[in-house]
Symmetry: C2
Subunit: 185 residues, 2 copies
């Protein structure tokens, strides 16, 4: 059997949003990073909320021959039980992340830029809507931008080319099963 | 800042289903493969429908130091316009995939087994419900199984620990944007 390979007549950098309350938003973005590496494409990932809790993707992307670079700027999820940092400190981190995103865009290194949990950062007022819109305005025509996290802002959804909502039908934690490596982190 | 690492008291192999009509089901499974590789875990992927059309994950997983093995058994999506193969031929392929899945389970190589688009294969009658249930019955306690594809069967959802439904809010193809490498394939 002959294997066909698609080749779009026009390459176009898309804005993708992956939102909703279900499992599989960051995970889906990581899947695109892996898929892109198969094409030899470069990916930059900025994680807005993660940073205090180890997640397998941190070491996973290191296996991808330097194609995928990941920076976690956060100090964990702001506002959830047990997180010791005040809102102001989370906001400083998120503002640093915005600066880093702009640097990454200007550098032109990557063909895909993943803004992981930027939707949450906006919802929690760690960054402002006009900052997100400014980032989207900076997008060069061939760069794909992937914005993940629950509670995506309607203006961001309006602006995006592709939007998926991941709905939770059920989740293992309801049966008091602890988070499992490789699956949940 | 100290980075914490979760370690579940009880490791438990889960059944996960990722279904729905939106973009991000296979992609999410690939993200778990990448994440798992960060933990040094081994992953086996059987793709039930893909095989005739190149997708970036085929080469992406090859970068993961042998941890992730992927086999595409299909001849493309049965029943969609332009696919030249009869149902009977697709069914033979899918039946081969079922055999391969059982071999993979018996081999004990992997900690995660991804059954990509098995839900579609069942819906299209390329495999039977009792075959899927038999596979789930064979699951060793520590193996995670991830079943992707739209139209997941209610009995499979019932049996799963975690189920996400990816809903399409909008998609670039509505604006006649062609599939883009790294994003769509």
């Amino acid at each position: 059997m002959e294997i066909k390979k698609l080749e779009p007549k026009e390459k176009k950098g898309l804005i993708l949003v992956i939102t909703g309350n279900g499992k599989g938003k960051t995970t889906s973005a990581m899947g695109m990073a892996l898929r892109a590496s198969g094409h030899g494409m470069k990916v930059d990932i900025i994680q807005f909320m993660k940073g205090d809790l180890y997640s397998g993707e941190w070491d996973g992307v290191k296996r991808l021959d330097g194609l995928v670079e990941l920076v976690s700027t956060g100090k964990g999820f702001c506002g959830i039980e047990g997180n010791p940092y005040p809102h102001s400190e989370h906001r400083i981190n998120a503002q640093d992340a915005v600066k880093l995103v702009k640097e990454k865009i200007r550098s032109g290194r990557a063909q895909i830029l993943i803004l992981d949990e930027i939707n949450n950062a906006l919802k929690l007022k760690l960054i402002d809507l006009d900052q997100v819109m400014e980032i989207l305005d900076m997008k060069p025509p061939h760069l794909h931008m992937i914005l993940t996290g629950r509670d995506a802002h309607p203006d961001v959804i309006q602006r995006a080319d592709t939007v998926s909502e991941v709905r939770e039908i059920k989740h293992a934690y309801e049966k008091e099963i602890e988070p499992q490596p490789g699956i949940d982190y």
